[in-house]
Amino acid sequence: MSPVTLLILLPFVGILAILLTPSKYAFAWRLWAQLFSGLAALASLFVFFGFHPGAAGYQMVQRLEWNSELGLAFHVGVDGLNVGLLLATALVGFAAVWVSDEIEKYTKLFYVLLLTMIGGALGAFASLDLFFVYFFNEFALLPTFLMIGIWGRGDQKNFATFQITLYLSLGALVALVGLVCLYALSGANTLDVLVLGAWLKEHPLPAGLQTLIFGLLLFGFGTLVGLFPFHSWAPLGYGVAPTATAMMHAGILKKVGLFVLLRGAFPLLPLGVQNWTGVLAVLCLGNLLYCGWVAMRQKDLNLLLGNSSLAHMGFVFLALASTTVIGITGAVLVMVAHAFLAALEFALSGYLYRRTGTLEMLMLGGAFRQMPFIGAALIAALMAGCGVPGFANFAGELTVMFGVWSVMPWHVVIAAWGGLVIGGIYMLRAIRKVAHGEVGKVLEGKPDVVGLARVPYVVLLLALVFFGVAPGVLVDRIRPSAERVVSLATAGASKTGAAGHASVLNPTSAPAH
């Protein structure tokens, strides 16, 4: 059995263990969840470091025929696109389970749902059959709604649940229509990316159809990611979600949409890519600038973090729009980095909320004095969020900017402004209000996290710093896949378009690659 299959199975085994444990041994539910998410984290480390960097193609592949009539197969494997994301999923899942000791009611259901999310996300990233990617993604999304609805907080809970369900269901629906079109119209009778890719090379779809399907996939999955202007579900949704849910969703599930675009849409529909990147290039500015400015406006820490995570997604969309090797590599780097970062941010804000009952930034303050560990981690996380070197986000965003320049220099200017200056403004304002200043009333006498409870925060911070100091570890793994995606996505494109674009600012036009 491939280690990837084992990795996907572990959370589900955990679910089974929890379900079979009677309520007399209620304490064991959490232990089971911790055990199996921890095992999954170990397995993911094994997969990540067992992966041969620099080698093209998929590794640790396993294929189980499921329904040959419909062309469906459980087909998993890792390549550069998902190896980092699998690691991030398992580690974030582990941290999410660990911080969930705040849950007091229906704990059994909670851990079952949380492990479902983890297992679903792992399955979605590992699957090479787009049907299974979608299936696992839905599997992970459903608990999100339930968890927000049941364990959510604040007086806007119902509206937030409603909004997030509406947006995500509609987005998933549009994406499904796109996938069904791809399945039905390609004639390959499968959604397995390997088979379908080979088939479409021989029998390419007409340009109109490619454009249509790519558009459906882009907006469907884009909504799941929070592509401007379909983003307003995200901040509020994270604002009311229980900590672990916000961590898993903002950190991991959001990346599935981007991942499907890279796994399926870009390599399979090159003509669609070329017709849509212009639109995507405009929309990503919405994420980069608009969401950044909206974040400046927020008074609630979680809303600010939600908007900032949308702004980070702008870098990924920008890189996708550029379709360059460096850009795509940077995009995957940003995705992995942001997975850790978003999880860390929401874990910290979740802790603050748990202790104070509010995330109103005016009421907080002095967290660094009152809770040195949480305060320091918060400062580190917010610093990472505005692109400080030493954290993985910086490496990713820098790579994206380098990669996009040859195609869209003006976009890089805006991205740099959004990331460096606007990002700096709201993140530092948040630090100023929450971590610095005199100790706020709501914080007085509230304890810091101690002992083993620090584990999840430390794990996430270490991951951020590791990939920030040594991004090459990840980049060497991503590179061959990024090259493959770009060569497929730009197949048959006239290079004049890109060059003409570059000449706007760069008359010499000698992009170095």
């Binding site: 927020q298 403004i425 010499t508």
Partner: protein, 651 residues
């Protein structure tokens, strides 16, 4: 391509000691939160040990490699490599970097020692030394960097660590605000810097300094019409770090940090990083002017010209503002701005050697002044207003003497201070670059410098005590006075070394370096070499000193506000730069944010989501009438439905 075995093979090379210099402060800083911080003695022993070792190694590195042209490179580590983007962390060991290395580690060591007493009793003592170590690490990273991206990485880290240090007393709102302001202002500069780096990379395909220098040497027009733009963008980064107008507003506020921090960051290192970086990439700035599109037809100035003017304006404005400040640290802050303006101006006048010379001497005497101010502040129970001091020379003799030496060096007193020589090199470069206006500005600022420094010294140290705390002032012990004494030495002697000429020969490819050969030649070099600057400067120093003495000898209040009127008010308000930032730049961003916030709230969440949900809700309310909840009604409807279906089916 196995980096580890490479490192292992190369580790016997002496230049790899640079890695030790770089990493020691990081290791000590990291060990403090991991347990060392539990013991105060261990904390500062570890921190001081790390930087002191760094200093010793720096000196040996300088002696080993400082005399090699072009320098040597320590084994680089690959950082990130994809497509045409190959980034690595490498170390340059050459004259420029080893000189700067000595400055940074030397002053950092003294500041560490000084801090053991100054910060004694602070509850966050370990955090202080950890931050200091991190800062030193970041600064050394810039100094040793061998490529633009690495410079940018450590550039940002310096920003962050200075943020931590300025905001060290984070509970104090003013300190927290100042730290935020410093970071954000720097960010605007960094924005230009990174774009400049990307621009250069996209044309040259590399970010290594040596490769870039070679490429631009063979083809100065590599960047085409963007040559000057690239230079200006990179300079924008330096404007942020080296606090050039209009991005200077953060520096005076940053005085909210602990005073030793100001000595390290705002005198010797961080603010000097901008100048150092400009010297590093001087070959990029020194290209013939070329602008894109319509700017070319207007005949835009060269990048160096812009740099020179920004530097000149900064030195003048800062010098003026300093005259009317009353906080001892703020006076020093504006004086730093003014001197940084000098250095930047020197770079702009094609004299990076002069800029580095002045940077070196300035680092010593400005650190001396800041540490002296720290000693005064500690002695006067945290009183910072010079009008509340007075008569300190009796109670704090060591500090007073050292401070006097620093003041003299800053003013550029001939022969006996280092400032004289380095300042004169700047005047000379301005003349050599044929920029008489800037030369005039430089000389005028020399007079202003004497005026405000003499004012500071006369008011704070001489005369009678004007407050309770000044009356009870006292020296604070060896850890604080020793660094002052040590720093006073190079403040006097450093100018006698031909640092500028040496740098010109080694790093900037100067054709005919000029080394004085006898003692008189050394002492009177400026008068021989560039008499106009030396003589005019001397004249203005005397004039400035005279004005100061006549105004402030035994004065109890400042007479200038009365005589100057609104000019004084404007100077006191720091020429309204902060007001402009607070009332124009910030509100613009806030207004856009408010607008978008409203759109998000009312249009997207309101109209679209709530509107959509409202429509669905209305339909739902209609359909709800059907739902009585009575099972028999449902049964009835079901049966009727079945009947209708069957009838339809049977037809």
């Amino acid at each position: 391509m196995d980096p580890i075995s490479h490192t292992a093979v190369a580790s016997s090379n002496a230049q790899d000691l640079a890695w030790v210099v770089l990493l020691f402060p990081l290791i000590s800083a990291a060990s403090i939160p991991l347990g060392v911080g539990r013991s105060r003695a261990l904390t500062h022993a570890m921190a001081i040990g790390a930087v002191a070792t760094g200093f010793v190694l720096s000196v040996s590195l300088f002696l080993l490699f400082g005399f090699t042209k072009g320098g040597i490179h320590a084994t680089p580590l690959p950082w990130l490599s994809v497509g045409g983007l190959k980034l690595q962390i490498g170390l340059t060991v050459d004259t420029l970097s080893t000189l700067m290395l000595m400055v940074v580690t030397g002053i950092s060591t003294l500041v560490h020692v000084f801090s053991t007493r100054y910060m004694d009793g602070d509850r966050d003592y370990p955090r202080y030394f950890a931050s200091l170590g991190l800062f030193t690490f970041s600064m050394l990273g810039i100094v040793l960097s061998d490529n633009l991206v690495q410079t940018f990485i450590f550039w940002e880290l310096v920003g962050v660590t200075s943020y931590l240090l300025v905001g060290f007393w984070h509970e104090k709102p003013s300190a927290a605000d100042a730290a935020k302001k410093a970071f954000l202002t720097n960010r605007i500069g960094d924005f230009g810097f990174i774009l400049g780096i990307i621009l250069v990379w996209s044309a040259a395909g590399t970010v290594q300094f040596t490769d870039l220098a070679a490429k631009f040497h063979t083809d100065p027009r590599l960047l085409g019409g963007l040559t000057s733009l690239a230079g200006v963008l990179i300079f924008l980064g330096a404007m942020g770090k080296s606090a050039q107008v209009p991005l200077h507003v953060w520096l005076p506020d940053a005085m909210e940090g602990p005073t030793p921090v100001s000595a390290l960051i705002h005198a010797a290192t961080m603010v000097a990083a901008g100048v150092y970086m400009l010297c590093r990439v001087f070959f990029l700035l020194d290209l013939p002017a070329a602008w894109p599109g319509f700017l070319a037809t207007l005949g835009g100035p060269s990048a160096l010209g812009i740099i020179a003017w920004v530097g000149g304006i900064t030195s003048l404005l800062a010098g003026l503002i300093a005259i009317q400040q009353n906080d001892i640290k703020r006076i020093l802050a504006y004086s730093t701005l003014s001197q940084l303006g000098y250095m930047v101006m020197a770079v702009g006048c094609a004299g990076p050697d002069a800029a580095m010379f002045h940077l070196t001497t300035h680092a010593c005497f400005k650190a001396l002044l800041f540490l002296g101010a720290g000693s005064v502040i500690a002695g006067c129970h945290h009183e910072q207003d010079i009008w509340q001091m007075g008569g300190l020379w009796k109670r704090m003799p060591t500090t007073s003497i050292c401070f006097a030496i620093g003041t003299a060096a800053l003013c550029g007193l001939p022969i006996v201070t280092s400032g004289f020589y380095s300042k004169d090199a700047i005047f000379a470069s301005a003349l050599a670059a044929d920029r008489p206006v800037l030369f005039a500005v430089g000389v005028l600022v020399a007079g202003l410098t004497t005026l405000y420094m003499a004012r500071l010294y006369l008011v704070a140290f001489l005369g009678e005590p004007r407050s309770e705390s000044a009356g009870h002032a006292h020296e604070s012990g060896t850890p604080m006075t020793l660094p002052l004494v040590i720093l006073a030495l190079p403040s006097v002697t450093l100018g006698w070394l031909p640092i500028g000429s040496f740098l010109k020969e080694m790093s900037f490819g100067g054709g005919h370096p000029h080394y004085p050969d006898s003692i008189t030649d050394i002492l009177f070099d400026p008068f021989n070499h560039s008499p106009l600057g030396a003589v005019l400067g001397l004249g203005l120093i005397v004039f400035g000193g005279f004005v100061a003495v006549s105004l402030y000898w035994n004065a109890t209040v400042d007479p200038l506000p009365k005589t100057l009127g609104w000019v004084s008010t404007a100077l006191r308000s720091r020429l309204f730069f902060d007001a402009i930032f607070d009332r124009v730049v910030v509100p613009i961003h806030d207004a856009i944010a408010a607008l978008f916030g409203l759109i998000d709230r009312w249009l997207l969440q309101g109209l679209v989501v709530r509107g959509g949900s409202g429509a669905v809700d209305l339909v739902g309310r209609g359909l709800r009438l059907v739902q009585t909840g009575n099972i028999q009604t449902y049964g009835f409807l079901f049966v009727i439905g079945v009947a209708v279906l069957v009838i339809l089916a049977l037809k």
